[in-house]
Symmetry: C2
Subunit: 270 residues, 2 copies
């Protein structure tokens, strides 16, 4: 394995770009190969079997590009496919769930942690399992928020309709006295300000993207895989709609998204 | 071809069940084989190439089940893939766009027709092309409504948030003096009451599902393919999540959804 190889990052679509953004900020010399599965997005309401099949195909595609590590920049795929991938793949592979959960454990003072995400992530109970395993005294209160992704993709980041849905989705969690809330879907950090305005300062918002980039840096260091390259070179692949992806990526990433490639046969990478 | 064979009906997911429902009502002796591509839903924001590939796979799957005709119960796939399928397949195949557009032409008195649908359907301009070809004097005013499908899938059929989004999405169309509005996505008939409450009696709502079932009946008669069976027998296939599909189908269809099968290799039907 070459420490100057790129890092593979994948997501069901554009959401994982919030994770790529954190990696670019915290590890500015590392190159990224990003894969967004835009033909089969969203993952949030699909079964575990399907998510594992798709994740394996993408991991094999990334391995063919000689990546030195893989980041599953998608909560649903992290929840449902990380273990299956770890059994198959020998390079370091990390998801967003564990770093996010660890940050929530640090943040809570009253042991009441809230978790919001897609139906797939919430029904998998992955955050609850992980948090309880670390500290059985933790109470985890969770809520699926299926409208948040389409609201973000409509650009309604600051909008009374979005605010109303935030109020509805978080009402029970607030009543249950949570003091920290995991934004358990990679789209949700884009709603961070709106959620903060409604929940106030007393509830700490945990962004797993930020924690994942920290965890990636530690993992690379541990395996002696930090790059010595002076400059990063990022390449993006999508399974559909490169133009639309480029537009959205341009609004999220701190770099120019120069090269986007369409991959129309991702299901053949077995 | 056997007139007692079933009719193949397909959609990206559950939306096409509103079309299946109309076929069951209008042609109660006809059997249906329904395919919902729930693993790859939604189609609305995917490219034409991808939609054509997926539609061909599903049509080939349905052909293997010996269907006598195919209904594309999805506006996006009708808009983007009907022509490609007609070139490959010899049995009658109809989409929802042409019947819907014809009904709008009958309904309008002032020649201002509105069309709402997914991004894919609206950007394809298929309704505009068809309507203008029939009558160049028609003015077509269109609007993509990306939040309607997730709102329906959240069950928010009667809700102030949904009402607010209906008001926003239709405002420009009302200002442009439309007198008929095509519900150009198979989920939208489930919002019919909510849309009617906001738009009032002066705008005729056109449901392509209803018109498609009429058109199917005419096509079958023309080809001498109406069944002589006494009883219909419906079978449902999905590419993911049979249980979730069954639950939703139960709320839409007038029959018991007894048999649902998971098909996990739809991409192999080429």
């Amino acid at each position: 394995m070459n420490s100057n190889s790129p890092i593979g990052v994948f997501d069901s679509g554009v959401g994982g770009l919030t994770v790529a953004r954190e990696i670019m900020r915290q590890l500015p010399h590392e190159s990224i190969i990003y894969f967004g599965d835009t033909a089969r997005v969203p993952y949030g309401n699909k079964s575990a079997d399907t998510i594992i099949t798709y994740s394996k195909q993408i991991a094999h595609f990334l391995m063919k590009q000689d990546v030195k590590a893989i980041v599953i920049a998608c909560n649903t795929a992290s929840a449902l496919a990380l273990e299956a991938l770890q059994q198959e793949i020998t390079i370091p592979i990390i998801g967003v769930v564990e770093p996010g959960a660890k940050a929530a454990l640090k943040a809570t003072r009253n042991n009441n942690i809230g978790v919001i995400g897609t139906e797939g992530t919430i029904n998998s109970d992955i955050y609850t399992k992980f948090l309880k395993a670390q500290n059985p005294a933790i109470n985890v209160h969770k809520k699926a928020c299926p409208l948040f992704v389409p609201l973000v993709e409509e650009g309604m980041l600051k909008d009374p309709v979005t605010d109303e849905m935030i109020r509805r989705y978080t009402k029970d969690l607030i009543d249950l006295n949570i003091d920290s809330l995991v934004l358990g879907c990679t789209h949700y950090p884009l709603l961070r300000n709106a959620i903060h305005n409604i929940l106030g300062d007393s509830i700490t918002l945990v962004n797993p993207a930020y924690e994942t980039a920290i965890s990636l840096g530690e993992t690379l260091k541990e395996h002696n895989l930090l790059t010595t390259n002076a400059e990063a070179n990022h390449v993006f692949y999508v399974s559909d709609g490169a133009d639309k992806f480029k537009e959205f990526a341009g609004t999220i990433l701190p770099c120019n998204v120069v090269e986007i490639n369409d991959i129309h046969n991702i299901e053949t990478y077995n």
